[in-house]
Amino acid sequence: DAMVIQNPRYQVTQFGKPVTLSCSQTLNHNVMYWYQQKSSQAPKLLFHYYDKDFNNEADTPDNFQSRRPNTSFCFLDIRSPGLGDAAMYLCATSTRPTSGGTDTQYFGPGTRLTVL
């Protein structure tokens, strides 16, 4: 089945220690997204890639970076995690949105990040 895969499912890091989360997809979608979801809150978009074109949301902290080496993979790097960065990180993919479009975002299972 075509899907969005995230590794690891659970990640524990120390305050200030860089961490990388991984996402891969077999849907061959040209758009990939990273969301942050804190407990009992809605997912919040951090950034997205359309192919290799990176688009940061205005309120995404500089501490969060992303890389997309190819169509299938996308990484979320947190350079210096703080306690407030503990959350579920969701990866999603879609086809490119168009004005008449029917694009739908499909989500991976998420990586739960704990910061000690």
Binding site: L90, P97, S99, T104, Y106, F107, G110
Partner: protein
């Protein structure tokens, strides 16, 4: 960007009861509308979506939603819930052509056997 409101934070029902979850959004332009469900310990899954046409859309597991443009609403319904419908439900809205999907805060539904 869209603002999405879900009216109920937590709903508790008995099995076989009917369910209706409210969702309103802020923008009056052309939108795509979605309901996602997150079962305990699982990932966000698409329940149903509306792009155009018939405002009453049917999704998986017996869910349906009605788009009422004049009320900026996209309410989710199920006539008879089961214990397995216990989950968190998110309404999401996207302006056509935009990348950003805006989510409501979610409604936790607990179905008691």
């Amino acid at each position: 960007a869209q603002s999405v409101s879900q009216h109920n934070h937590h709903v508790i029902l008995s099995e076989a009861a009917s369910l209706e979850l409210g969702c309103n959004y802020s923008y009056g332009g052309t939108v795509n509308l979605f309901w996602y469900v997150q079962y305990p310990g699982q990932h966000l899954q698409l329940l149903l979506k509306y792009f155009s046409g018939d405002p009453l859309v049917k999704g998986i597991k017996g869910f349906e939603a009605e788009f009422i443009k004049s009320k900026f609403s996209f309410n989710l319904r199920k006539p008879s819930v089961q214990w397995s419908d216990t989950a968190e439900y998110f309404c999401a809205v996207k302006t056509k052509g935009d990348y950003k999907l805006s989510f409501g805060a979610g409604t936790t539904v607990t179905v008691r056997a």
